[in-house]
């Protein structure tokens, strides 16, 4: 039997979609291990979010409602979550491997002498043992791992699961935890926040993404992609090569390091399809590739392919879609 505790990120009482994914994964893991599913909610609004977590599948919810946790602060969050892991007597802690998860998971595991796994996309039970599945070697392969320690901290790759669905009729206990948090532990401070200059939709939330890579040949090519994205109501992304070249800011990056996305439509322009990029679009529904090299690996992941110089296609495509969509909506 293994009890599962899910750290569900909340803001003002609302659960993030990463949190709902973690709830879906965590409760199915608990069911397979004949254990209990609990969630931990921290910061102002934790009480409201606890009710939500139960509606989304947790059997009980722990809350730590301290004003010190209103903003994400790594040292305080570490203290709060590791205390909750301890007090809940769970053996598995599940978190999304998102921006915060990247700070927290290795450190939480070290504190609890637990095993850690990140980028987990699935699990299966073989002869009573849970095998966690995660991509390795830039998504070229999948690895199945088992845990050697009594406890484990599992980081779920965002966008790898259907978020849990809501059922208001679910009930469960809400247990406030008394934890002594002290500002004295704070060593890292946020000095400055620079919001991305991206206009429109966030990459992670976009239903349509037009991305450019090294094949664009320079920053100018992104103007054409922007025009196309505007017509489609989508966002502009980029490969690591285009970001490293300084053509667009790193915040545009789609891939294993940048944004992991799951849009309905992903248009890859001048992107060869390095596996680290493909790992960021594993769950994209329809992928369109436009590349002059018919041998580019991106075509192995694409549903629709156009082998051509992008400059001969994109402006014409923007124009054609503008016309057609105008007809549709008018």
């Amino acid at each position: 039997m293994a009890n599962v505790l899910i750290y569900a990120n909340q803001q003002g009482g609302n659960l993030s979609s990463n949190a709902r994914e973690a709830l879906a994964f965590g409760s199915s893991l608990a069911r397979s291990a004949n254990g209990e599913t609990a969630a931990v909610l921290i910061g102002p609004g934790a009480g409201t979010a606890a009710k939500e977590a139960i509606a989304f599948g947790a059997e009980k919810a722990y809350t730590i409602d301290s004003p010190l946790l209103a903003q994400y602060q790594v040292e305080l969050y570490l203290d709060a979550i590791s205390e909750a892991f301890e007090k809940s007597q769970s053996t598995i802690l599940v978190l999304p491997f998102d921006r915060k998860g990247k700070d927290l998971i290795g450190r939480l595991a070290t504190r609890s002498s637990a095993s850690a796994l990140t980028e987990v996309i699935d699990f299966k039970v073989e002869e009573g043992t849970v095998h966690y599945v995660r991509p390795i070697y830039g998504d070229k392969a999948y690895g199945e791992y088992t845990i050697n320690r009594k406890k484990a901290v599992i980081g779920i790759r965002p966008k790898s699961h259907e978020p849990a669905s809501r059922d208001e009729n679910r009930t469960g206990d809400i247990i406030p935890l008394k934890i002594d948090l002290s500002e004295e532990v704070i060593v890292s401070t946020l000095a400055e926040k620079i919001e991305s200059a991206l206009s429109g939709v966030r990459l992670e939330d976009a239903r349509i993404i037009v991305s450019g890579g090294r094949g664009l040949g320079g920053p100018e090519g992104f103007d054409e992609l922007e025009a196309l994205a505007n017509v489609l109501g989508g966002a502009v992304g980029a490969s690591r090569a285009a970001c490293d070249a300084g053509w667009v800011p790193t915040s545009f990056q789609v891939g294993q390091t940048g944004a992991v996305v799951a849009p309905d439509l992903y248009i890859a322009v001048g992107i060869s399809g390095a596996s680290q990029h493909l790992s960021g679009i594993t769950n994209a529904k329809t992928v369109v590739a436009i590349n002059h090299d018919s041998e580019a690996p991106i075509f192995k992941r694409a549903n629709l392919g156009v082998v051509a110089d992008y400059m001969s296609v994109i402006p014409a495509l923007t124009k054609a879609l503008k016309k057609r969509m105008g007809v549709n909506t008018g």
Partner: protein, 264 residues
Amino acid sequence: MHIVVCLKQVLDPELPPRYFKIDPETNRPDDGVADMVMDSYAENALETAIQLRDKIGGATVTALCLGDEDSEDVLRRALSFTADRAVRVWEDEWENLDGQAVGHILARTIQSFGGADLVLTGYQASDIEEGLVGPVLAEELGIPCVTLASELAVEGSILKATCEAENGYQVIDVPSPAVFTIVSSEKNVPRLPKVKDIRLSRSKPIEELEADDLEIDAERCQPAVALRKVYVPDREVACEFLVGEDGPELASGLAGKLMELKVL
């Protein structure tokens, strides 16, 4: 200021998928056709370390690698980047270490140096992709950790890191000593080493350390996870190639196909 940069050697991630094979005996990739190279984020970390050292009078860079003899190549490369010192730590029984065990051993190694003011690692290595070593190392050393840093600066006793945030960037201030995990950016594109430095790197010593030189906790050196099975998933999609005489014709065909999708 003593800067330690932790380097990892990995299977060349540029290896095309069609050459990528897993040896079922060892659960490791068949490295017959692939080169071993320095992990690219580790290389960004090395570049960051060297740039920072060159701005700070009296600072030194130690390149540290946990690996067998084959990984001397990455340390030679670090020396050709003008790292001041190269250290390799290895024990034959460490064949199947995971990120947590590596974090522990690196922490003990850094302690054996008398500590460091700044420890840099790549954010995540391109082989096992855990992203654990930096945070585990920080926790083992009991010092702060800033992840996903693309730029570093030192202002007095404060270290300033520009990092990826959920929606843009943020600048995080921490006191020294601290661990930073580095991502690639236009500021840390690895240099092309000078011919002179490459030549010099060949004759520089590489210090070797083993378990007995360090105060290692045998328990924490045991892998916390076990890799049971590795396989190459079949993910190939049947791509429908559009045909057309020229750009506009292809564009028109594609526009038609896109309109058929329900997403527009």
